[in-house]
């Protein structure tokens, strides 16, 4: 593999890992604060799955870059603009409806993405994707069940879900707008062709929202930037928590 493609592969692995990592961190914030015990455990279990997947991507990224950086360095020691997560996953845990809607918007995408990556030309990406997709199937099922239950629930639960949908919907299209790296990786047959997934994504999502008696926002102005390092103000706060130990005690280990 040429150096340029190697660099692009490294970049691509970060793009794959960062979404899961930042969402995992958001879910981790809920540990001990979930609305009920079972849900608390479910959300932190999903967080754990996501972090496990991130480790697999970043261990591989460290191998690809081969300059002494470890998976922990990659995860912990970047600056805000070097994180490539989408705006969707950094949105706050406003209430349980937001947590579920954010999760579900991501899970639909995540499942479709992994369904493509299992056919990647990169063996290691295939191995990670095959492992992850089984876990993500559960995540999607879990969040979809809650979307239906709360959307088609009481007047208040429906209203809260609708508010969350209205607020978060504008972050969904970024997932399908490829960065230069994503385009290059798709052309090499290593990465997923994102634009080709978009139609199916919205079809599935809209069908679920309809079943949950929720309205699909119309005439939305979509927001982009996270994947290119332009994050919302939330990201700084997330990283303050996330990187605290490494910043305060450089090179510390458990």
């Amino acid at each position: 593999m040429s150096d340029i493609n190697k660099e692009a592969l490294y970049d691509y692995l970060l793009l794959l890992g960062d979404n899961s990592m930042i969402l995992g961190q958001r879910l981790g914030e809920l540990c001990g604060h979930g609305p009920e015990l079972e849900t608390d455990i479910a959300l932190t279990n999903i967080s754990l799955d996501l972090f496990g997947q991130v480790r697999n991507y970043f261990q591989y990224a460290a191998e690809v870059v081969a300059d002494g950086r470890t998976e922990d360095d990659i995860a912990m020691l970047r600056k805000e603009h070097e994180y490539k997560s989408s705006l969707l996953v950094e949105q706050p845990n406003t209430d349980f409806a937001y947590v579920i809607v954010r999760q579900n918007f991501f899970d639909h995408y995540h499942y479709m993405l992994l369904s493509k990556l299992v056919d990647s030309k990169d063996e290691q990406i295939v191995a990670v994707a095959k492992k992850s997709i089984k876990e993500v199937e559960y995540h999607l099922d879990f969040s979809s069940t809650w979307v239906k239950r709360l959307g088609d629930g009481t007047e208040e639960s429906r209203q809260r879900m609708q508010d969350a949908v209205n607020e978060l919907y504008r972050f969904t299209r970024e997932l399908f707008k490829p960065t230069e790296t994503e385009e290059r990786m798709a052309n090499l047959g290593i990465g997923a062709d994102l634009p080709s997934m978009e139609e199916d994504y919205y079809k599935q999502l809209h069908a679920l929202l309809e079943e949950a008696t929720l309205e699909v926002p119309q005439g939305e102005v979509f927001q982009y930037g996270g994947k290119e390092g332009r994050h919302s103000e939330y990201m700084g706060y997330i990283l303050t928590d996330f990187q605290f130990m490494q910043r305060a005690y450089p090179n510390m280990k458990w």
Partner: protein, 162 residues
């Protein structure tokens, strides 16, 4: 697992899953290969779930178990082929049940049970089939929480993973 020296197999058998102490990692099906190299054994293990926090402990425990026998072992993590619950041996499934964790059922029963259909999973306490799912995610990512409606016992069910 490929056939290895009985002594090596015994050492590996002595290491158990830290979260399910009755279950040896061999019966768990996570040991994929044992290589005898010049000055150490290289043990290939595969995780059950990507984020399984037990993996690091298991790695330490394997190294320690070999060390106690005066042997040196290193552990290599592999992802492919991805672990499935079919890799748990019959003996392993029995150990799970005796420990109070319902063993994974085949895919169709698993799906019915996890989508909330009642009477799919046998209570590990009283044997009744009158059980229901409480939560799809249990005490660890690999388990779901069930409850018996006859004896009232809450118990874990090891989810089928394929």
């Amino acid at each position: 697992m490929e056939t290895v020296d009985q002594h090596i197999e015994d050492i590996l058998y002595s290491v158990s899953d830290p979260e399910i102490p009755v279950l040896s990692i061999v019966d768990m099906g996570i040991i994929k290969k044992v290589e005898k190299l010049d000055d150490h054994f290289l043990i290939h293990i595969t995780p059950t779930y990507s984020g399984c926090p037990a993996m690091d402990t298991i790695e330490d425990d394997i190294v320690k178990a070999f060390d106690e026998e005066g042997l040196k072992a290193k552990v290599k993590h592999i992802l492919s082929p991805a672990w499935t619950t079919d890799m748990i041996t019959e003996k392993g499934k029995k150990a799970l049940e005796e420990y109070g964790i319902a063993a994974p059922r085949d895919a169709s029963i698993d799906k019915a049970a996890l989508s909330g259909e009642k009477n799919q999973i046998k209570c590990t306490n009283c044997g009744s089939m009158n059980t229901k799912m409480v939560s799809r995610f249990g005490s660890t990512a690999c388990k779901a929480l069930f409850q018996c409606e006859d004896c009232g016992e809450p118990f874990d069910y090891f989810k089928c993973l394929r």
